[in-house]
Symmetry: C2
Subunit: 182 residues, 2 copies
């Protein structure tokens, strides 16, 4: 961030009066430009004993597998975002169940939220951001080709809870990989 | 948003190639300036049969009561943010319990997340954003002077669950009040 998005003047970074953290500030018009974590929303679309995964057509992690998910948009709820992303990435219509994981990823400033979901039909297929969309049984999950750790953590909790016969919310955080500066 | 925060050129609003929604775009440097919902994090600090509330020293809703909460910051988890806000607003140290509410508020582009929490001591007091910090029994809660609907919804679920003897996650959304354009 170099310029004030309000008035176009140069930005300075300092702690505003009464604040505790450095912020991007405009000394011309007085605007403080806060930056905050983003919410990623998605679903675990179930069909009998299978789960739907999408092969990513875009970076990062092009060619790897993910649950349908993406950035929450203005004007929608978490649940609406999860349904929308499932349509966009997999052309799949779902009925949402319970919220299942809320995973903070502080080193990339994100919170990933997944719902359990029932596929309403088998008429799905890749959206523009997916190369392929497929149903997997537990033994078929491509664990080493999953795109993000929030996906593998969500699926591990999902199968563990399924074996126990009871699903519950998992709120957790994912720490930076060793050697990552952030 | 009028100017590109990267290069300072004028912003235009249009749907980028391959996207579905209008975005704030810079045609000089090509940056797309996404805007997304913000996460508000807080706690329900418990002490025996009492809950800690803060009287707001700032707008909006100056003088009304709230659970300690505020915007999640970069580089922290949801849980770390809830603990930090409880310290900042009430100088109160808590041990977090379970995540309790995840409430979308689409008309203001926010998601409010509250944890149950145990106060570790009674050495609390107003931070700079609070006029007063007090413990309330259920019968004493100032229901008509609560600052936000996410606060009253969280407290209603809290007392309802407490009566049932079992707390569970409540993921819900709060619709715009009648007559609100957004």
């Amino acid at each position: 961030m170099n310029f004030c998005s309000n008035c176009g003047a140069r930005i300075v970074v300092r702690v505003p009066d009464g604040d505790t953290l450095p912020r991007h500030m405009c000394e011309a018009c007085g605007t403080i430009h806060y930056r905050n974590p983003l919410v990623v929303v998605g679903s675990i679309p179930e069909w009998k004993d299978q789960v739907l995964l999408c092969k990513r057509a875009i970076e990062p992690r092009l060619g790897m597998w993910t649950l349908p998910a993406g950035f929450m948009e203005l004007g929608e709820s978490v649940a609406q975002g999860a349904i929308r992303e499932t349509i966009e990435e997999a052309n799949a219509r779902v009925e949402l169940g319970e919220m299942f994981t809320v995973l903070s990823v502080p080193h990339v400033n994100q919170v990933h939220i997944f719902y359990r979901a029932q596929l309403l039909d088998l008429d799905f297929g890749p959206g523009t951001e997916s190369l392929e969309v497929t149903l997997f049984r537990e033994g078929e999950i491509p664990w080493k080709e999953l795109a993000f750790r929030t996906i593998s953590m969500t699926l591990k909790h999902y199968y563990a809870d399924r074996r126990q016969g009871a699903y519950r919310l998992h709120a957790d955080e994912i720490l930076a990989p060793r050697g990552m500066s952030a």
